[in-house]
């Protein structure tokens, strides 16, 4: 294979994987605290539409990105309120959020253009590629890794920072404690409610950032259903990565690679493996991984599956 082609495939893989990393790491924080947020797809798409709308009107990439982060946090706080404070069913609440987000994003996409016109087809600001001096010249890996947009570089930072936060700080310990055994955490004086709120809202902000990468960098612009199910892939990814940010990065590259390959296969007109079969892989792999970590539960403990995932907490009630 030609080197140039390999570089371009790697570059696209990272591009395609970036939003998945943000979304998956956001979900990892949420789930580690014991909250399952199936509203990810809704948050991602709302992040994308708000980033593009704000970016388009203010012509500021920074404001657009901030808007996505704020909207992501706000939507996640609805889920936090319903599932943490009101102890509503997390599955249903998350699905409601997805439904709501997809509906609202489509509505906004048709209203937020200039003078109430649709956003579809408009050209707004976008993050362009920036080559990092020296590093970007390293053959192959450097050329692919360090010839990316700003949000991808932010993604590179997000992974080690969130891993550090999760495993090496008080905050991370609290998050994990609350997701593992809220009773004990509560007895130790950790506020279960506050920690879960923080993790859910913080996670939502990261998901919003993932949406911003989609509409401001990966596929600049707004089209209805822009996320195309990436939110669900990210949820799969969290399990695939067994709730670990670093493995989520690896998984996102594999899933992003599959995604990128899919387009190439379609362009090439089929090939040996039909594109649809390739696209199934992430979902099937997730079921396999989930089965394995369930069967080998001792492994799953070590890998960090949160024991209290999806369970509401009420002091003194079991």
């Amino acid at each position: 294979m030609e080197l140039a082609l390999l570089i371009s495939i790697l570059t696209v893989t990272i591009q395609a994987g970036a939003s998945l990393v943000f979304a998956a790491v956001g979900e990892i924080y949420t789930e580690r605290a014991g909250v399952l947020n199936l509203g990810l797809e809704g948050i991602l798409i709302m992040g994308a539409v708000s980033a593009f709308a704000v970016g388009f009107h203010t012509e500021s990439l920074l404001l657009g990105t901030l808007a996505a982060v704020v909207v992501g946090g706000a939507l996640a706080s609805i889920h936090a309120f319903l599932s943490v404070t009101l102890r509503a069913d997390q599955v249903v609440s998350g699905l409601a959020l997805t439904l709501f987000g997809i509906g609202l994003s489509s509505f906004l996409g048709q209203r937020l253009g200039p003078e109430g016109a649709p956003l579809v087809g408009l050209v707004g600001p976008k993050f362009s590629k920036m080559t990092i001096p020296a590093l970007g010249q390293i053959p192959l890996l450097g050329q692919a890794l360090f010839n990316q947009d700003l949000l991808v570089y932010l993604m590179y930072l997000t992974v080690p920072v969130s891993a550090f936060l999760l495993y090496r700080t008080r905050i991370g310990l609290n998050v994990r404690a609350v997701g593992e055994d809220p009773d004990t955490a509560d007895a130790m004086g950790i506020s279960v409610t506050r920690t879960r709120y923080m993790a859910t809202i913080g996670g939502g902000m990261l998901m919003g950032l993932g949406g911003a990468h989609l509409s401001l960098a990966y596929t600049p612009g707004w089209t209805e259903n822009l996320t195309g199910g990436r939110g669900w892939i990210a949820i799969a990814l969290v399990i695939f990565a067994t709730w670990d940010p670093a493995r989520a990065l690896l998984g996102a590259l594999i899933f992003g690679g599959v995604n990128a390959m899919q387009f190439r296969l379609q362009a090439a007109g089929g090939g040996v493996i039909p594109a649809a079969m390739l696209a199934m892989m992430p979902y099937l792999l997730t079921v396999v991984v989930l089965t394995l970590i369930t069967v080998y539960e001792n492994v799953s403990r070590r890998l960090g599956a949160p024991a209290a995932l999806g369970l509401p907490y009420m002091r003194g009630e079991r």
């Binding site: 609805i78 509503a88 069913d89 609440s93 439904l99 509906g103 649809a276 079921v287 009630e317």
Partner: protein, 377 residues
């Protein structure tokens, strides 16, 4: 002062009926505000939606048509939820019903050297039920045999099924005479689910299947020993186990029925409406079904009613595009917010809010101040 939730000792009847209604009202107000912020008149929008859903005979029949798959998938999800098996996979089971029905209508006759015309529909029904059931049984088996979380497996299986269907209608089942249009050949007419013999537009016998399914489920759940077992397992699995009930066996049985009914929904959509395998048959009804079942509190009759309501939102939303130039997606916003508020209201059916006046804490035990370091750090 502190607000706490306190479990209600008794559930007053009026609370159970009143709160969902209040929630519905609040959802309308909340969505109305959103509409207003973004420059649409909420009153006109709601009026246009109501007319679009139930205004004329044509609208009513379209709403009924739209409700059929929601009713069936809603019933499917409802029975699984009754015993706390979180079947998020109705969409995938629905898709397998579509695929199986298509296979029988287009490919089985050739394989076995011809089938009498009257056998087509019964064979399609059986195939769709079985295919949906099998797709539902895989996660059920993973759950009962290995303890694998069914929320994730059923969810993931939706996408596998959807991609499989996409592969079929764009690939090996694509109509060779279809001018490159992605979709299978059209079913022969004796494989079409007929329309109802009354003047109700495109409404087909799927409606009868749905009502029949609701009746049977109600009968089974409310009037048989098995129904009681399901109820007990859903309410208190531990007690059920002590009473000698096999949870695993019941999960498998229930998921066989649940997947099967979702498969029937797929059959009724492909044989009653599309008449061929193509894009746009599976539009997320299996997901909406979860909302239907939840809003209906898993009661089969209520599921039929709620399906009508949500179908009305959907057809009303479609009409918005035509009459007011507003996106049909408003329906999704409304559905989502109704669910938010009903979920919120549910809590106040089981709990009540109490205000407690607390004394200021003694200085020796300061409340952890936000921002400032606590002794634990």
């Amino acid at each position: 002062m502190q607000l706490i939730l306190e479990r209600r000792l008794s559930r007053p009847r009026h609370v159970e009926f009143l709160f969902p209604l209040i929630a519905l009202g609040l959802a309308l107000i909340f969505s109305g505000i959103l509409l207003w912020i973004f420059g649409a008149n909420p009153f006109e929008t709601y009026a246009a939606m109501a007319t679009g859903a139930f205004g004329q005979r044509y609208h009513i029949s379209e709403t009924l048509l739209r409700a059929i798959p929601l009713m069936l998938t809603g019933l499917a999800v409802g029975i699984a939820f009754r015993m706390l098996f979180w079947n998020i996979g109705a969409e995938g089971q629905f898709v397998w019903g579509i695929i199986a029905a298509t296979w029988v209508a287009l490919f089985l006759p050739e394989l076995i050297g011809g089938m009498p015309q009257w056998t087509f529909l019964p064979a399609m029904i059986v195939a769709a039920f079985v295919a949906g059931a099998i797709w539902g049984l895989i996660p059920a088996f993973l759950k009962t045999a290995l303890g694998v979380n069914e929320i994730i497996t059923t969810l993931m299986f939706n996408y596998v099924a959807l991609l499989w269907m996409q592969y079929l209608y764009t690939g090996s089942w694509k109509d060779p005479e279809g001018f490159g249009f992605p979709g299978s050949a059209q079913f022969p007419e004796h494989a079409w689910l007929p329309r109802l013999p009354i003047d109700l537009g495109r409404v087909h016998y799927g409606l009868v299947i749905a009502v029949l399914a609701a009746f049977l489920l109600w009968l089974v759940l409310d009037r048989t020993k098995w129904g009681l077992e399901i109820k007990v397992i859903g309410k208190n699995p531990l007690a059920a186990r002590y009473a000698g009930m096999s949870i695993a066996r019941n999960v498998l049985l229930v998921m066989f029925v649940s997947g099967g009914i979702a498969g029937l929904a797929g059959f009724s959509q492909v044989a009653g409406v599309a008449h061929r395998l193509q894009n746009g048959i599976a539009v997320g009804d299996g997901f909406t079904a979860i909302i239907v079942a939840w809003l209906a509190k898993l009661n089969p009759w209520a599921i039929l009613l709620v399906s009508l309501l949500l179908a009305g939102l959907s057809t009303g939303g479609d009409q918005l595009q035509i009459t007011m130039g507003l996106p049909a997606a408003v329906a999704g916003v409304l559905q989502g917010s109704i669910l938010f508020f009903v979920l919120g209201a549910d809590v106040f059916i089981n709990y009540r809010l109490r205000v407690i006046r607390t004394q200021p804490r003694p200085a020796a035990n300061p409340a952890p101040a936000s921002g400032g370091p606590t002794p634990a750090d």
